[in-house]
Symmetry: C2
Subunit: 143 residues, 2 copies
């Protein structure tokens, strides 16, 4: 995709998109929040071409949202784990979940079970209320 570098812009939205604006990157982060860490698991989940997945993982490591960790020496194998910066991206995905559920829900189809609870309850004023009871929600909200 052709575009000028958004990193030159002062806007924090533009500067964030420079690092995580690519479609696949957000879905890789979504899977990482769901507990995925290994190349083959990302690939199977996303149906993404291996060379594209390699590039996007490298970009997310470069941007400091994922950390590469070796978990096997023979054969050499790395896994990809969310950094603190990566975990700070969660509110963006939570907001996207709330928006997508409201406006682009797949009729009669639920959120894939491996993400159940990962991005909810959404802590946004415009989002629908969480499914837990008021008592449980109040307890969970306590510091």
């Amino acid at each position: 995709m052709q575009h000028k570098s958004f990193a030159d812009m002062t806007c924090p939205i533009a500067r964030s998109l420079e690092h995580v604006g690519e479609w696949w990157s957000m879905l890789i982060l979504r899977d990482a929040f769901g507990g995925t860490t290994r190349f083959d698991d990302f690939q199977q989940s996303l149906g993404i071409a291996p060379n594209m997945l390699t590039r996007r993982l490298a970009a997310l490591v470069e941007a400091g949202l994922l950390e590469r960790r070796r978990y096997s020496e023979r054969p050499p194998r790395d896994e990809y784990v969310l950094t603190e910066r990566g975990r700070d991206f969660k509110p963006v995905l939570v907001a996207l979940v709330a928006f997508g559920k409201k406006h682009f829900a797949a009729p009669g189809r639920a959120v894939p079970s491996r993400f159940a609870g990962v991005f909810s309850p959404p802590p946004l004023p415009s989002a629908p209320p969480p499914r837990s009871t008021p008592r449980r929600a109040a307890k969970a909200a306590r510091p």
Copy 2:
């Protein structure tokens, strides 16, 4: 960019990205929240090629996030206004602002003034506290 259709996925994140995942789309929405409505103003703000801007605006209208309104018959001129669905996208941009400010801030450079206040205070638990005084904040938080 090559990708399989995210609309086939059940995940609300994937389904949202199908409609607004393109980099430019989010920046067009950002400008729309800042009050921009006209083609020339979007183009000047974004430095985007006219044919690309035409395509992205049409896609956002098609997805129901923007509405096209004729404001001049001679010459024929349209403007683009956020729909209710488009306005519901704001929490995503608010979350991106908070993330971008924390992790990819441009040193010594502030948010462009035309967006001042548009995306703040961020109503997210992990975001920095709003700049208003505690008394004002408490008052504003009252139902």
